[in-house]
Amino acid sequence: MAGWLDDRLEERGLDRADLLIWPLGMGVAVLWGLPFVWMVSTSFKYPSDVMTVDIEWLPSRVTLSNYMKVFEYPVLRWGFNSVVQAGVATFLCVLFGAMAGYALARMRFPGRDALFYTFLASLMIPTEVSVIPMLLGFVKIGWASSYQALILPSIGNVFSVYIFRQFFLAFPKELEEAARMDGAGPFNLFFRIALPLARAPAIAASVIIFTLNWNNFLWPLLITFDESMKTLPVGVAAFTPVVGTRTQIEGYSIAMAAVTILSVPSLLLFFFLQRYFIQGISQGSLKQ
């Protein structure tokens, strides 16, 4: 009997320890996901069912009232701001990054590599160093609490250039040559031939940069003085229940409804495009 078991395991390259490791590891994985379950579960509970001594993993009584209450705040406006901010910044960053990545990989001009290494070296500068001076600058020119202020600083994300350059380095020369024979200029070459074939890096760069922009916190917090110009993460952060006040009693159910709304776009994007996330991140950082 034991011999039979060992044989079956061996066929799959496993041994007896795996019989223990597998359930243990899956248990940890489920545990890792439980905070999300608790978040969603709390968001559907009546406030009076939230702060209880007994733990109710699934609400015994379900209500949508927390979601209704969330929408009494300007959540739709914040969501709109976030979509504009993350959407426009991501589109421009990916498009300009593709253009630069293509030029840096496929074209010859003096200073090309110096440019690329300048881009890379800038990764050592934490964005936090530039937020205070940038805040002063934007306030001086009267752009505080504006869409320009939310969007512009996110365009120069070097990750986009990097991932496209990697892709275009391995791009087959023949395609370009054929097009060049037909008299296509460099812009034509890029927009007609190169860009349409760069679907994979475009998706990877888009999902990762969109997620970064959607979640961006410090800069939108600093630059939006106006309640109506806040982005979703900054606006929702104000739902933190304050200890010892009424918001603490009602707070958690509303707060969990708000963060559920906030996390849905990034989680959906991740679930459906997981492959691109993981490939993009490992490509973007592993090649030393």
Binding site: A17, W22, I281
Partner: protein
């Protein structure tokens, strides 16, 4: 999510000799916002750090006064000490757990893609989500964490409301948030190890631990060094969780350099001084990056 460590490969895509002037134009679209919003503010920030600057009125040149003040400011000391504690908790936990999780998923058990999704998912949500979910989980009286610790006979821990525990509470949330990146980097590195090497070791009778120590670990050295550095830098920059979960409190016990910089600028309107403290943090981060590069070069 921190991203991209340089690729040191100079590779001309095209073999043609002539110069492509259009290349400058294609790069310019990216280079312009990059210069204006990534580079210029840093240079401007260095200038601001040497001035007294509040939101109204003109800046006044003060020389190194801000820096001298920073060295004598006890709140600067508290913030930098705190961030070292954060690093001491978060960096080892993220590295070790991330590696263990990656080793598990890499074995290709049934449902391992589900495990991969679960391990990575927290990394894609915003700090606001992380912060609020964990404020609720770590609630002293009704939080899940204390509830289940109660079964082990542990008295309720005031995770976020006591000076003793607030740093630990914020660290727990940060580990949950940050682990996904380390996990994915380790997983990619593990998948790059040729299967034959591991099979050969198995045939030679190497047990699980021996295979890990002598075959897998040597391959992972560069990626471990990278994960430690990325995570250390991410932790030195810790802010949003702190802002959402504790506001740096109670009594600055969970404050961080960026939190203090934010406070100086937004609450106290001391922009010059805030920039000076930011510059000090930048120097610390630069030192970490350079140290990692040198260490890695020595090893390889």
């Amino acid at each position: 999510m921190a991203i991209a460590i340089p690729d040191i490969r100079i590779d001309a895509g095209a073999e043609r000799r002539e110069i492509d002037g259009a290349g400058y134009l294609l790069v310019a679209f990216f280079a312009l916002p990059f210069l204006l919003f990534n580079i210029l503010p840093v240079l401007f920030g260095v200038y601001v750090a040497f001035t007294r600057w509040s939101i109204v009125g003109a800046p006044k040149w003060e020389g190194t006064k801000n820096f001298i003040k920073a060295f004598h400011d006890q709140w600067v000391r508290v913030a930098f000490e705190n961030v070292l504690f954060y690093g001491a908790i978060i960096v080892p936990c993220v590295t070790v757990l991330g590696l263990l999780f990656a080793l598990f998923v890499n074995r290709g058990y049934p449902l391992s893609s589900l495990a991969r999704t679960l391990f990575f998912a927290p990394t894609v949500v915003s700090a606001t989500v992380i912060g609020l979910v964990w404020v609720w989980l770590l609630d002293t009286q009704f939080g899940l964490v204390n509830h289940y610790l109660g079964y082990l006979g542990i008295e309720p821990v005031p995770w976020l409301t006591s000076t003793r525990w607030s740093l630990v509470g914020v660290s727990i949330a940060s580990i949950w948030w940050d682990l996904g990146l380390a996990f994915v980097l380790f997983l990619a590195a593990l998948q790059d190890i040729p299967g034959e090497i591991i099979d050969a070791a198995r045939v030679d009778g190497a047990g699980r631990l021996q295979r890990f120590r002598h075959v897998i670990l040597p391959h992972l050295r560069p990626v471990i060094s990278m994960v430690v550095t990325l995570q250390l830098i991410a932790t030195l920059r810790i802010f949003s969780q702190v802002y959402v979960m504790t506001n740096g409190g109670p009594a600055s016990s969970s404050s961080s350099p960026i939190y203090y910089i934010y406070n100086l600028a937004i609450v106290q309107n001391l922009f010059g001084y805030a920039s000076a403290v930011a510059l000090l943090l930048f120097i610390l981060i630069l030192a970490v990056t350079v140290a990692q590069r040198l260490l890695l070069r020595e090893q390889t």
